[in-house]
């Protein structure tokens, strides 16, 4: 029997037009059009044996240590922005949530919700960006799913990625482990991603050279853990920014946190954009930064390790954990006063007053 799967496929299927084509309902309908899209786009871009098997699930050996699992949906607009796009973001974001447990990310799944009419050229570009991000991070996208919704019932593309990874035994990182006296560090400048995205919102109409900081942090984390296995908390200040995650940590650890405005690495244009809009950079999203909390005696070593990594060059010790039954996050202002850094109420909206 001279059998050739490829021959069967290619002889009966016209290539997808990735230049001018658009997503149609049939691309999610479960038929040949969907299979073709999956095979020619996803399988070929993500290129690994588990995905190529075209089963409805991936199968792999369990790692050593404990496992972690995390999921995030990506709904960003615009889809392409200076410094990245929704594709690499969807890889970095979930990978970072895995890394924030001190884990080594292993595998990702990717679920796509496409809007009818979405340009296939954009889809291809996004998928290529995901593939590149996954490869750079040394992980595989092993299973996935594609759904198509009618025009007007989506927003081009939504991606939900889920990651699994493994934490070496002995590493215990969680948001409830901060204790008074511990030091708080950030890995770099704050607000770059959020301000980049805001600058592209037509109705805000401002321009900047800032780029999104989207990046995979697991390599930085690996270095940090190697240097300071006693790291207690790691978290990436994404939605809601630094202020939000410090409040989360304070509440989960039942402590207060005191930071020093002088030490916060914030770029000038980020501060300036915030002044225009009435925003506070502490609440602006980051996609390639982390906050670490460690015992005081390890802080300098941790800082040094972070600064030695390309993604931690602007790292800084920004404050310390204190006792506080009210779990406030407070800040010594550069001006010399002191204020509370509260939870965000609702989303930040541009203000006139």
């Amino acid at each position: 029997m001279t059998f050739n799967k490829q021959a069967i496929r290619s002889s009966y299927v016209r290539p997808i037009d990735f230049k001018r084509g658009r997503v149609e309902m049939s691309h999610g309908g479960g038929g040949r059009a969907m299979t073709q899209l999956i095979e020619t786009l996803f399988v070929s871009a993500f290129d690994n044996a588990m995905l190529s098997a075209l089963n409805d699930q991936a199968c792999f050996s369990p790692p050593t240590g404990r496992m972690v699992m995390s999921t995030d949906g990506y709904v960003i607009s615009p889809l392409f922005f200076p410094g990245g796009d929704i594709g690499c973001l969807a890889v970095h974001g979930t990978l970072n949530d895995i890394a924030m447990a001190g884990a080594k990310p292993l595998y990702l799944s990717a679920g796509f919700i496409l809007e009818e009419g979405f340009p296939l050229a954009d889809l291809k570009r996004i998928v290529a960006s995901m593939a590149a991000a996954a490869q750079a991070a040394g992980i595989q996208i092993v299973t996935g799913d594609t759904k198509v919704v009618e025009r007007g019932k989506g927003d081009g593309i939504f991606i939900t990625t889920t990651g699994v990874g493994s934490v070496p035994d002995g590493i215990e990182i969680a948001a409830d482990r901060a204790r008074p006296g511990d030091r708080v560090l950030v890995s770099g400048t704050l607000g770059d991603h959020g301000i980049t995205i805001l600058s592209l919102r037509e109705n805000l109409g401002f321009h900047t050279e800032i780029e999104s900081d989207t990046a995979a942090l697991h390599d930085l984390v690996a270095n940090m853990i190697a240097a300071v296995p006693a790291i207690k908390v790691l978290r990436d200040p994404t939605r809601g920014g630094l202020a939000t995650i410090l409040n989360e940590i304070a509440l989960q650890s039942a402590v207060g946190i005191a930071i020093d405005e002088h030490q916060l690495p914030i770029r000038e244009p980020v501060r300036a954009a915030c002044e225009f809009l009435g925003f506070d950079p502490l609440y602006i999203a980051n996609e390639g930064k982390l906050v670490a909390i460690c015992p005081p005696e390890d802080a300098d070593r941790l800082l040094e390790t972070m600064r030695a990594h390309p993604l931690g060059q602007a790292a800084a010790i920004i404050g310390e954990v204190i006792e506080d039954p009210q779990c406030f996050v407070q800040m010594e202002t550069a001006f010399g006063g002191r204020r509370i850094v509260d939870w965000l109420s609702g989303e930040q909206l541009p203000r006139i007053c």
Partner: protein, 79 residues
């Protein structure tokens, strides 16, 4: 109230101008002000320049901040 911020005028085209604030550029309207020139600083509110900043007055005010006041408490001039 009335969030507004000083920014430097870079380009002017009739009533439209581009201002720059530490690398952030945005288009604003000069419809409310007169005699603005590139290089001037204007106070920007809801996309409009409200007024020019007077550099000499700004310097004077800053100098005032730096002066250690000679005045004593209780409203009496110090001896």
């Amino acid at each position: 109230m009335c969030l507004a911020i000083p920014a430097r005028v870079e380009q002017i085209n009739g009533d439209d101008a581009i201002v720059n604030l530490s690398g952030i550029r945005r288009e604003i309207s000069l419809a409310l002000v007169e005699n603005v020139e590139p290089g001037d600083y204007v106070i920007v509110h809801v996309g409009y320049a409200l007024e020019k900043i007077d550099p000499a007055e700004a310097a004077r005010t800053l100098a005032l901040f730096a002066e250690l006041s000679a005045q004593d408490s209780a409203g009496e001039p110090s001896p």
